[in-house]
């Protein structure tokens, strides 16, 4: 897939998720049309519109951005109480969602239709013109709330509005205090919130340091209760919450009376206006206790000047029949219409709807070409990588069981004394092979699910290049290829830092300025290449430039002056070894570190990061021609086939993807060249390392060694072990955390006998083997 296509798919997937969330909240509002709107739903829709604006802006989706902006604007007014949510507004929002979905549909098909653009504009206008401001209230009810100014100071405008609303309606306000352990307070709070939710509205959550506990944290929840004090107390039974009422002074004049008894506060006696009978008649809203159905106020408030049959109520879904519209009783609606039943617009539409219900699933009237389909636009499912890890662990365990079955089958086939048992053994082993194949397929499928194109990182880096180049005063052409090569998600994530370092290095140290380049006959603009390529189980990534190259003599000088190597060591080094000195900790070729890239740390960190991914790095450079860094990485880290070996009674696993071959070697075959041990392998000298000796294990006398020849990129090393136990698929758990500094071990695995077996880090061992050679030289 092209990078653009991938990005678009990503956009559609994310936008779909946002619209789904928006739709859910909108539906909830719609279903409760006759009731007071739940502020949480309005806020939810606001957030969704806000996210959508940001997302589409980022992907340059102009039409969606504009409409999302208009919607966000309207919703902001709504949630801050500057606009009342009436049917008109709700209808507009539903239509806006419709438009969003159509827009997203076109986007996913790569279209941009004139019609829809016009419709979008009209929608924006409609949203902007929407609604009338709510009645103005003279006195700010918040003034009546006895709440410390310092607490009010941390409320957002929205929270303050919610608090005001609650005070205005005479809702009992509480401060709910609860202390939790710092390690899991979010769980505790979530539980508390879940309990509070059905009892009222959590207006704000304030954290505070609780004295006496370095590991504790306390929160104050400002809560508007729609239930009595007793009910609230009962509802919080068993939580660490403590309740404290927030006192509210009675309103100055005949304002809304409280819906419930005010919490008792020590000094403020209950206001006289509290008795429900004397409640002011001027406030019909306050009488609508709880969630009374619409018919109730209609029946009660006979004196109210409300049209008997308002147009909008006729279209408001459930309860429509109550209004006694001319087409009374006819509530059938066309199939396939959106869950919100709103297709009826004119008196005659009902009949039309009936006809169409019989014939076609499309609402009659003006069929819109871009009718929103309920089918999702994206074929992508987002999965938490942790879940995939869990599945892969599971496969690892299945593989262990399979190995046990295989052993059983083998035993019964060979040791079977009766023919029947032999037959059974054969049968079993055939089935086990079937199981093996299926398991392999499953494993492969899971690994594939973790694969993402490395282009994800490349794209980010491309943006960075422009910036860095500008700051460094360099002119750079950046070319990246192989972005479609796929790697494990985890590796791709971890790769961005090392690659960023290398690219900065190339721009900062590699590429010359335009003038300097012209003076040596090079094109004015430097070329920076980023390339990925798959080779078997590995992916090669290179970062190369056509800059000035690495000055070998300078490398030699620096390495010596910093005491990183001795003169005699350096005299024996090949050119490649010499260049590789730049990966040593504390190496920096520039005496003045540029302001741009506080370097000095750098390449050693890059090397380390790659090492953590079982990858290695190599450098090539030629004076005046350029520099190239080659990274070799495994395709996946999750499941690997490993060689299980034994040394001095211990068991280790060696990932098979770096094993080239296995030799059986007599002690006399080991030669000592300048006090280091080597083997002759087909005329070539192979560095040789005794694992037991390296790991400082008690050595055992053996009459032959098994030598596991490992290699990554051009490096080779023979690792001597005592025993070979065979091959097995293993799931490596990284040592991580406190043990991340352990050398030569990449992780541990379980081989099915309850015993933890360490997995060798081949890249690190290779390096140690080579370094040891250097040291002994």
């Amino acid at each position: 897939m092209t990078p653009g296509g991938k990005a678009l798919a990503e956009f559609v997937a994310e936008a779909t998720e946002i619209l789904d969330a928006l739709g859910r909240d909108l539906l909830a509002l719609d279903e409760a049309r006759d009731q007071e709107a739940d502020p949480e739903h309005i806020n939810g829709i606001f957030r969704a519109a806000h996210s959508l604006k940001g997302l589409s802006g980022l992907f340059g989706q102009e039409r969606i951005t504009q409409l999302a902006h208009a919607a966000e604007d309207l919703l902001d007014r709504l949630r801050l109480g500057r606009l009342t949510l009436d049917d008109q507004v709700l209808d507009a929002l539903v239509d806006a969602l419709d438009t969003f979905q159509s827009l997203l549909g076109e986007t996913s098909r790569g279209e941009e239709g004139e019609d829809l653009t016009r419709r979008t504009r009209a929608m924006e206008d409609r949203l902007a013109r929407m609604g009338s401001p709510p009645p103005v209230v003279e006195e700010d009810p918040l003034e009546r709330l006895e709440l410390d100014a310092s607490v009010r100071a941390v409320f957002t405008e929205y929270e303050e509005h919610r608090l005001r609303e609650n005070v205005r309606r005479g809702v009992a306000l509480w401060r709910v205090r609860a202390a939790f352990d710092l390690s899991d307070f979010d769980k505790g709070l979530a539980d508390l919130n879940a309990r509070l939710k059905p009892l009222g509205e959590v207006i704000s959550t304030l954290p505070s340091s609780r004295p006496g506990g370095a590991t504790g944290i306390a929160f104050d929840l400002i809560f508007g209760a729609k239930v009595s004090a007793q009910e609230l107390e009962a509802g919080l039974q068993g939580t660490p919450a403590e309740l404290e009422p927030l006192a509210v002074r009675p309103p100055q004049d005949g304002e809304d009376g409280p819906a419930f008894d005010l919490p008792r506060s020590p000094d403020a006696a209950p206001p006289p206006s509290e008795t429900p009978d004397t409640g002011p008649v001027t406030a019909p809203r306050a009488k609508r206790k709880k969630k009374g159905p619409r018919s109730q106020p209609l029946a009660l408030e006979a004196g109210e000047t409300r049209p008997l049959l308002p147009v909008d109520t006729a279209t408001s879904g459930p309860g429509t029949a109550l209004t006694g519209a001319p087409s009374s009783g006819v509530t059938a609606l066309p199939l396939g219409s959106p869950p919100r039943m709103r297709a009826v617009e004119s008196p005659s539409a009902t009949t039309l709807g009936l006809q169409s219900a019989a014939s076609a699933p499309v609402p009659a009237g003006r069929p819109r070409p871009e009718e929103t389909s309920l089918r999702s636009l994206t074929q992508t499912v987002r999965v938490d990588i942790g879940r995939l890890d869990g599945l892969i662990n599971m496969v690892g365990e299945l593989l262990l069981i399979k190995a046990n079955l295989q052993r059983l089958a083998e035993t019964s086939r060979q040791d079977g004394t009766v023919a029947l048992s032999k037959l059974f053994g054969q049968e079993l082993s055939r089935e086990t092979r079937q199981l093996e194949r299926k398991l392999e397929a499953l494993q492969e499928g899971l690994l594939e699910a973790r694969m993402v194109p490395v282009g994800q990182v490349f794209d980010k880096l491309a943006r960075l290049v422009r910036r860095i180049a500008r700051e460094a005063g360099k002119e750079i052409d950046f070319v990246s290829t192989g972005g479609e090569v796929e790697l494990d998600k985890l590796i791709v994530e971890e790769l961005s830092d090392p690659l960023m370092h290398l690219i900065r290095n190339a721009i900062d140290h590699g590429a010359e300025g335009p003038e300097a380049r012209l003076s040596v006959g090079k094109p004015r603009r430097a070329l920076l290449r980023l390339r990925a390529e798959q080779k078997g189980n590995h992916v090669l990534i290179s970062v190369s430039d056509d800059g000035s190259g690495i000055d070998e003599s300078r490398v030699r000088e620096v390495a010596l002056s910093r005491g990183l190597v001795t003169a005699s060591q350096i005299s024996e080094m090949t050119r490649r070894e010499l260049l590789n000195l730049i990966f040593l900790p504390g190496f920096s070729t520039r005496s003045s570190v540029s302001a741009l890239s506080g370097r000095g740390v750098g390449l050693d960190v890059v090397k380390n990061n790659l090492g953590n991914l079982s990858g290695i790095i190599d450098v090539w450079s030629e004076r005046g021609k350029g520099t190239a860094f080659h990274l070799t990485l495994p395709v996946t880290l999750a499941i690997v086939r490993a060689l299980v070996v034994g040394v001095s009674g211990r068991t280790y696993a060696v990932p098979l993807n770096s094993v080239l071959e296995i030799l059986s070697v007599q002690p006399q075959d080991i030669r000592t060249v300048e006090r280091r041990e080597v083997l002759d392998l087909r005329g070539q000298t192979l560095p040789f390392l005794r694992l037991g000796r390296l790991f400082l294990l008690p050595e055992r006398e053996v009459n032959r060694h098994f030598v596991v020849v490992v290699g990554l990129a051009q490096q080779r090393l023979g690792i001597a072990v005592d025993e070979l136990f065979g091959q097995q698929d293993i799931v490596t758990k990284p040592l991580g955390g406190r043990l991340s500094g352990v050398k030569g071990i990449s992780g541990a695995t379980d081989l099915g006998n309850r015993r933890t077996v360490l997995v060798l880090d081949v890249a690190e061992l290779l390096e140690e083997g080579i370094a040891q050679e250097r040291r002994r030289a």
């Binding site: 100071a153 957002t156 710092l182």
Partner: protein
Amino acid sequence: MKFKVLIVEDSKVSREHIAAAVESVDGIEAVATASGFEALKLLPRQRFDLIITDINMPDINGLELINFVKKNPNYRDVPLIIITTEGREQDRTRGMALGAAGYLVKPFQPEDLEALLRRFLKPL
């Protein structure tokens, strides 16, 4: 030593945008979290040189976070930058009154953020 900047922003898009802008400045490492709760958990565990926070967030809001940081002797010297949306003047003013060191209005240019970072993280 790299400067460590904590980013608190619930919107994924914004968070990544801010993190990218912060990390594009050399010598700064960004730790991005999606909520004030996560920030509260992180604060005692890691040392941050600067905090960038959104204001409107689901669990605790940015103002509460600022207040918490400024009232806590362990963190009160850590400068805070608020990032708000257009039209949120009241929230912004409150944030500044609570002790925020600076603010940015979305959508902002990475350069503006960088200028702020350089102002509060010295020597950078």
